[in-house]
């Protein structure tokens, strides 16, 4: 009997487990609760304990790895830490703060950082528009090639009066207009998301999509221009078009951002470049989807009910001014702060990197000495391998 008692007491791993078991059990219970009913179901006190328990268990895991040969226990701790890690480092919960953050800084700032991609997307679309405009003015048959029969009742075969009538067709605000706006929104957004996702195929389809969009626009403009209806057309198009075209360009730019990371990763690895740009691109696309929602409302409701040309141009000008202000200036101050923080981070990373290299070199020289391979050196070596 004495021998049995002793066995348990002598073993540090058994002692260690006995001492810390309650902490692990507490963490386990908290995690189970959070997983079942969500983090919100935890009381403030429990929430405060969570990180503490997590770190304590994490340190238990480190200790267990070095002193215990109880495999099931180490595996248990690893699973527990893994589960707790999900809860502690999952996405943040405060959705409201995140949304505020998104609009006040993240969105405009990300768009500012993608300015070159936006410029390229704009140029591609303008190139399509200008080419189609010139070609169609020269020969109206091109209209059918570029626009096709998607704008019903508006073709070179229509009379000028018909075309004009189409621009001032007054409707009343009704459910069907709202439905029209909603379908426009969901259709356009889908195309926008696709333009972004197609960036993964090296961006070529994105380019074609933008160019094609330009072609349609150019062909359309040429038809109305040839009948002297330019002013009326743009008054009809721009109130929502400013927002909508900008959103399309932004989606294209997001696609280019992806393609850029994939094709020209620069100094970082392809994977790193892709993930970095992928996240930025996603932010831009979400912004664009919201813009398309606004554009859908203007197009589906406002345009059908307001026929005064000056008012139409005023609205177009106001939206343009708003987007320029929003994307150009909102959150600028925070940009500079973020840039400073990034620089500091980079400097820190450099220092850490230097230290790691030095310690790795030291470990190497030690392991080469004939003193042999003790456990601690083995640990160092495996750590180095992990880096």
């Amino acid at each position: 009997m004495a021998v049995y008692r002793q066995q348990g007491r002598q073993m540090r791993s058994v002692e260690f487990r006995r001492e810390r078991e309650t902490t692990w059990k507490e963490l386990e219970a908290l995690i189970a609760e959070a997983d079942k009913r969500g983090l919100r179901s935890l009381t403030a006190e429990q929430l405060a304990r969570l990180p503490h328990l997590y770190r304590a268990t994490l340190s238990s895991l480190s200790v267990a790895r070095s002193i215990s040969l109880d495999r099931a226990l180490t595996e248990y701790l690893e699973s527990l830490v893994g589960r707790a890690y999900f809860v502690v480092y999952g996405t943040r919960q405060a959705l409201r703060k995140q949304l505020a953050d998104f609009f006040a800084w993240k969105l405009p700032s990300t768009i500012r950082r993608a300015k070159w991609h936006i410029l390229v997307a704009t140029i591609v679309m303008l190139a399509g528009a200008v080419a189609a405009f010139q070609l169609t003015l020269g020969d109206m048959d091109y209209y059918y090639a570029f626009v096709g029969d998607m704008a019903q009742g508006r073709s070179p075969a229509s009379s000028t009066a018909e075309l004009r009538g189409g621009l001032y067709d007054e409707g009343s605000v009704s459910g069907s207009l709202a439905t029209f706006a909603a379908s426009l929104f969901s259709h356009n957004s889908r195309i926008g998301i696709m333009a972004f996702a197609l960036g993964f195929v090296a961006g070529l389809p994105t380019l074609l999509l933008l160019f094609y969009n330009g072609l349609v626009l150019g062909g359309f403009a040429a038809l109305y221009h040839s009948r002297g209806l330019s002013v009326d057309l743009w008054g009809w198009l721009l109130p929502h078009g400013v927002t909508e075209l900008l959103a399309v360009i932004l989606c294209g730019a997001a696609g280019f951002l992806l393609a850029h990371g994939l094709v020209f990763p620069g100094a970082s690895t392809r994977m790193d470049a892709l993930r970095e740009r992928g996240k930025h691109a996603a932010v831009i696309v979400i912004g664009a989807v919201m813009m398309l929602f606004v554009a859908g409302l203007i197009e589906g409701i406002f345009r059908q009910t307001v026929t005064s040309v000056p008012v139409r141009y005023t609205v177009a000008g106001t939206t343009a001014a708003w987007w320029i202000f929003y994307f150009g200036y909102v959150g600028r101050r925070r940009d500079t702060r973020a840039a400073v923080a990034r620089e500091e981070d980079a400097a820190d990373a450099e220092v850490i990197e230097a230290q790691l290299t030095a310690s790795a070199a030291a470990a190497k020289s030690m392991s080469m000495s004939p003193a042999g391979a003790s456990m601690s050196m083995r640990a160092m070596r495996s750590q180095r391998g992990r880096k």
């Binding site: 690893e78 996405t91 993240k106 456990m375």
Partner: protein, 301 residues
């Protein structure tokens, strides 16, 4: 076969380093699990869509055509299809109802916080991976009435390549994971194992007349960590398992021959013998480990 299975599992284990600097291992989710979770989520979406449409048509009666409600349904459908996954993965820490049911989860590949933008990125790409080819395949005739056979074929091939993409890379990455820098891993099961040594000691206390088996230094020096943990696996089987006592008997015989354990052991005491040996061997090896000597297996010095 067991070894083969282990190797198969080990291939799917990925290590991340937590911000505290401690490496923890996760097992990547299997392709079947992910497909299952996806299908479950799809079924939920479809059911919700149908339910909402049905409820609205009941509520609005014959006036549904061209009413405001239709507009609401169109927008809701768009949001549901495009943001269902993102919404849940943000709110439920990388899980969706389907993922939770199956027991898998999205994490940041580097062990950092799972960012909202990453969740959005990985899910927006579904447009390319699933919806676009699906639309071409199923509704191709509507979108493009005169679609020639080759177009359908291309759409099919496209779906195939993108859907099976996770099978062709070692990290089981979907394109969305690639772009967002995320991984999908198995949710580890948390079950605190009984402490073999302490538990055994407790039981032994109630039988004071029995003396523990003792082992010499030399006998304990035969095995290493690998063998210890194999033995642990044997002892952790549930005793009501049919083959348990037979297995115990075999292992006990083998060990006694190997360490030249003298003396007879009564039939029902093989279990106790092995537990004693386990405790003694673990104490011995852990002691050595404290002094920096970890003996991996019986072949190492």
């Amino acid at each position: 076969m067991l070894v083969q299975q282990r190797a198969e599992v080990a291939k799917l284990v990925r290590e991340i380093v937590t911000p505290e600097g401690v490496p923890i291992r996760f097992q990547l989710a299997r392709a079947g699990d992910r497909a299952g979770a996806f299908l479950l989520d799809m079924v939920i979406q479809i059911v919700v869509l149908i339910a909402v449409g049905w409820a609205l048509s009941l509520a609005a009666g014959a006036h549904l055509e061209g009413s405001w409600l239709t507009a609401v349904v169109v927008v809701l459908a768009f949001l549901l299809v495009n943001f269902y996954f993102a919404f849940f993965e943000v709110r439920w820490q990388g899980t969706t109802p389907g993922k939770r049911k199956v027991g898998i989860r999205v994490i940041d590949a580097r062990g950092g916080q799972l960012e909202t933008s990453a969740v959005l990125a990985r899910n927006l790409v579904r447009e390319l991976e699933v919806w676009m080819p699906l639309r071409l395949l199923l509704a191709g005739k509507v979108v493009w009435p005169a679609a020639p056979g080759w177009a359908v074929l291309v759409a099919g091939a496209w779906t195939f390549v993108f859907m099976l993409f996770p099978l062709f890379n070692k990290d089981r990455l979907r394109i969305g994971d690639l772009i967002a820098g995320t991984r999908v891993v198995m949710q580890p099961k948390v079950m605190m194992p009984p402490d073999l040594v302490a538990e055994h000691a407790e039981v032994a206390v109630h039988r004071p007349q029995v003396r523990a088996f003792t082992f010499t230094e030399k006998q304990l020096a035969v095995y290493g960590v690998y063998e210890l943990q194999i033995l642990e696996g044997v002892l952790r089987q549930t005793p009501d398992n049919a083959g348990y006592f037979e297995a115990i008997r075999t292992v006990s015989d083998k060990i006694r021959t190997k360490i030249r354990h003298e003396g007879h052991i009564p039939e029902h005491d093989h279990d106790r013998f092995l537990r004693d040996f386990y405790a003694a061997l673990r104490a011995h090896l852990e002691q050595k480990m404290l002094f920096g000597k970890r003996r991996e297996d019986k072949f190492s010095k």
